[in-house]
């Protein structure tokens, strides 16, 4: 498969810019890059889900146009998604046969099908019982069914999107053996990941994406994690934007000790995180998305129950899983998901200004709210943070991302917090708005607030943080001073390079 100059634009972003890529039969080809580097868009183009705005695709040397996933499947391009596409009550064999256009008999021969599936499973080392029902299988086994589906359709190109994210290390090794066997069988395997050591372990060639562009394609033999990390992260840090560190730091305000918590899928997401943030300090949490950062923010602000460990604010323990307690003790939170969590989108700026403070005696009298004072507060917030909005009655969802973030930050500062947990504070904002938000964070630290900033944007962390903690697979795997931190080294820690 060959891609020439593939470009895909979405409103406001270029997801892929002039991507050239050659994937050969018989190789495992890794696509490596941070979140947002364009890996997913590229795989969606190759599987016919998106159509490129520019550029062309060739399969076996012939130009092709993939109009739909069905087109791609018919040409032998299959994908194993991160979230499986399986019918839970059906058996393995039934799922494998599902949607296969070649079998046009009314009543498929179940036995023959099961035999075929068992033979394929045997050949590629995919241990799974063809008669088992999907809901009975572990996640790793379900992934094998997805691969069997592709093999049964005789896929020539198989794309796996972050296949190891849901696997144990042992399952991952078994998967790698299968991928090697499939490549040896003359198929092309595209392996999408942001984990350096996996990529080095399984692939023949590695293409690194950054900002939607191909940075380099290198053979895996001879590549080092350091070199790959440098390619992945890039070096675009402007050191002159650095904030001078506060001369004197206050006492420890926000402290977490040995936090363990589960993610939404019930898997361990935090595996023993301890950290301390002092008043006036900005601590940055760096890491590739999905390594427990969101769960950490939620655990610190009471949104996520803890399995074990505890959080203290200025020495007083927080009640786990109780956001109101965290708010009362002065933990402000600017969540990653601004529109769905940070505000009630259909309500006005005024309502959202008092989303947390509506219980205060200042804006409520007994069971009643004092509308006039709420509007007054909102008007003051709009003026103070220069929110571009027609007025306090404007709905939150009608604000731009930057203005919405100003409302959220303004509201959180208004509560006179002792600690501030911010996640992805500038994601999706334009340059001016980013500078604004950064300025607000700097000034809050200068006012003595303990700031914990979680971001996937290393530039942002280096520009603001006094200390940088790197998270990987639910643990803090490294700590560096913000001043003079080495980007390559951080990048390697983020990709699990230090954990080996």
């Amino acid at each position: 498969m060959t891609l020439r100059g593939v470009t895909k634009r979405f409103p406001g972003v270029v997801a892929n810019a002039g991507v050239d890529l050659v994937i050969q039969a018989g190789e495992v080809h890794a696509l490596l890059g941070e979140n947002g580097a364009g890996k997913s868009t590229l795989s969606n183009i190759v599987t016919g889900l998106y159509r490129p705005d520019e550029g062309s695709l060739e399969l076996h040397g012939e130009p092709v146009e993939l109009r739909s996933p069905r087109d791609a499947l018919a040409r032998g391009v299959c994908m194993v998604h991160q979230h499986f596409r399986l019918v839970e009550p059906f058996t393995v064999a039934e799922n494998v046969a599902l949607g296969d256009q070649r079998d046009r008999t009314l009543v498929p021969d179940r036995r023959a099908l099961e035999r075929r599936v068992a033979a394929l499973a045997e050949q590629f080392g995919l241990a799974v019982d063809p008669r088992a029902r999907i809901w009975q299988l572990s996640v790793g086994e379900q992934q094998r069914v997805e691969i069997l589906k592709a093999l049964h359709r005789d896929a020539r190109v198989l794309i796996l999107d972050e296949p190891t994210a849901v696997l144990t290390p042992q399952e991952a090794h078994a998967l790698f053996a299968t991928l090697r066997a499939m490549a040896a069988d003359g198929r092309a395997i595209v392996f999408i990941s942001h984990k350096l050591h996996e990529v080095l372990e399984v692939s023949d060639r590695i293409t690194v994406l950054r900002g939607g562009r191909v940075v380099a394609t290198v053979p895996a033999a001879g590549a080092t994690p350091e070199a790959l990390a440098a390619l992945m992260v890039g070096r675009e840090v402007e050191t002159n934007r650095r904030r001078p560190s506060a001369a004197t730091l206050g006492d420890v305000v926000l402290e977490a000790s040995d936090l363990h918590a589960e993610g939404d899928r019930g898997l361990p997401a935090l595996r023993g995180v301890s950290l301390a943030v002092r008043g006036g300090e900005i601590v940055g949490i760096a890491g590739v998305a999905g390594n427990g950062q969101r769960e950490l923010a939620e655990a610190l602000t009471g949104l996520r129950p803890l399995v074990s460990g505890h959080v203290t604010v200025a020495g007083t323990p927080l009640r786990p899983g109780d956001p109101r307690d965290a708010i009362a003790k002065g933990v402000a939170h600017v969540p990653e998901d601004r529109l769905g969590t940070g505000v009630a989108p259909s309500l006005s700026i005024a309502s959202n200004t008092v989303l947390k403070a509506y219980r205060d005696p200042d804006v409520s009298a007994g069971p009643f709210l004092r509308r006039a004072r709420i509007v007054q507060r909102a008007t003051a917030l709009i003026a103070r943070y220069a929110v571009q909005a027609p007025g306090p009655e404007t709905r939150a969802r009608d604000l731009s991302g930057g203005n919405l973030q100003k409302v959220v930050i303004g509201r959180e500062f208004a509560g006179e917090p002792r600690a501030l947990v911010v996640a992805a504070p500038t994601r999706g904002l334009d340059v001016g708005a980013i500078e604004n938000v950064h300025e607000l964070l700097r000034s809050s630290a200068a006012a003595g607030i303990a700031v914990l900033m979680i971001s996937e944007d290393l530039d942002e962390i280096l520009a603001l943080a006094d200390r940088v903690l790197v998270m990987y697979e639910g643990r803090i795997v490294g700590e560096r001073a913000g001043e003079g931190a080495d980007v390559d080294e951080l990048g390697m820690l983020m990709a699990g390079g230090g954990a080996r």
């Binding site: 109780d322 769905g340 969590t341 989303l355 509506y358 219980r359 069971p367 009643f368 709210l369």
Partner: protein, 368 residues
């Protein structure tokens, strides 16, 4: 042709769409009437007269509208927190049973005591019934649409059981008519709620005044109190509510209780204002609870609009009774009512979505 969501509803549509929907409904109904050999203009004039201008018509319309106000509010109140209370039907039955029980137990007491006792008993019974899906929703995350709907059947069976299948406290076992057909015991005279006359022809039931006051209370509750603020945030984004430290479960229980209370007082009003006995057939036949959902939807869950819409829908169903006869079958009346409701809901869709003719951008991209 495709349908896309509007980001905002133009102001002119707020008034134009309901009127336009009504006009479309009248045109479609006219076709049906012509096909079945009736003169549409004549039928419409009769409809209007029977609903509003005939002697006693307006009073009958108010009689039909009163329970719809209660059930409409019961649905509207729950929707504010994003809950679909389909159970107003059952909540009304339970309210009616409890209120009739209270009235019978307090025989010999004065009017004021009777009214208060019936309203309180009915409201509490309705609230308790609504709290079952409320608890299931808050603590087991069970879909309240299913549970509240299913409980309607339970309540209906219980209601039938009390009168038809057992010699219960509610059943009349002494009067001569009761030997022919099972029926509820007549409530004491003091349990008849007062009516207010305006002029000679218009009779306003007490229950209607009660529900208008309740609509006012609900409006204040939802627009001016912390409780209402929490309900609005939960209805808009449960995650934001949790983030803000709100007690979501408590709010869900309170709101479902309030919804059940409103429907339950509606059941008490049925006993006190109109039926004066526990009347299983009469309570079940009109489907007040289900029509109330339509009323609430058309009123966009605004409490005062619920009262207005209930008045119009009440007029329509009242006129239906008046129109039907040998030359005008009941089925045809039902068809006309259905067309009006269908068009009203369809028009509602237009205020939130727009219809575009032509190919979708996706299809164009494929063709390009």
């Amino acid at each position: 042709m495709r349908i896309e969501r509007r980001s905002e509803t133009p102001r002119w549509m707020q008034a134009a769409v309901p009127l336009g929907s009504l006009a479309v409904a009248l045109v479609i109904s006219a076709i049906v009437l012509l096909v079945t050999g009736h003169n549409p203009l004549h039928a419409y004039r009769r409809l209007f007269e029977a609903a509003f201008t005939d002697p006693g018509a307006l009073s009958s319309t108010l009689t039909a509208a009163t329970p719809l106000c209660f059930t409409g509010l019961a649905a509207a109140v729950a929707f504010r927190v994003g809950l679909f209370n389909i159970g107003a039907e059952g909540q009304l039955y339970m309210g009616s049973i409890a209120a009739a029980g209270a009235a019978l137990a307090l025989a010999g007491q004065g009017v004021v005591i009777q009214i208060v006792a019936m309203a309180v008993a009915g409201g509490l019974a309705g609230a308790a019934w609504a709290l079952i899906p409320g608890f299931l929703r808050a603590f087991a995350n069970t879909n309240e649409i299913i549970t509240s709907l299913m409980l309607n059947y339970v309540a209906a069976l219980f209601l039938n059981y009390l009168i038809f299948d057992t010699l219960s406290y509610w059943r009349d076992t002494s009067s001569p008519g009761a030997a022919q057909f099972p029926q509820g015991k007549a409530l004491p005279d003091a349990a008849s709620w007062p009516t207010f006359g305006l002029g000679t022809s218009l009779v306003i039931p007490f229950g209607l005044l009660v529900v208008v006051v309740l609509a006012g209370i609900v409006t204040v509750l939802y627009s001016r109190t912390r409780f209402g603020f929490e309900a609005a945030v939960i209805g808009d984004s449960p995650r934001a509510a949790r983030y803000a430290g709100m007690r979501t479960r408590r709010s869900i229980l309170l709101v479902m209780g309030l919804a059940g209370l409103l429907a339950g007082v509606g059941g008490a009003s049925q006993d006190g204002d109109f039926r004066h006995l526990l009347d299983p057939r009469g309570l079940q036949q009109p489907g007040y609870g289900y029509t109330g959902i339509v009323v609430a939807a058309l009123a966009r869950y605004n409490p005062f609009a619920v009262v207005l819409v209930a008045f119009l829908i009440g007029g329509l169903s009242n006129a239906g009774y008046a129109l039907q006869g040998a030359d005008f079958p009941a089925g045809l009346v039902g068809v006309m009512q259905g067309i009006v409701l269908f068009c009203a809901l369809g028009g509602e869709l237009l205020t939130r979505y727009r219809i575009r003719l032509g190919r979708s951008p996706a299809a164009e991209a494929v063709a390009a």
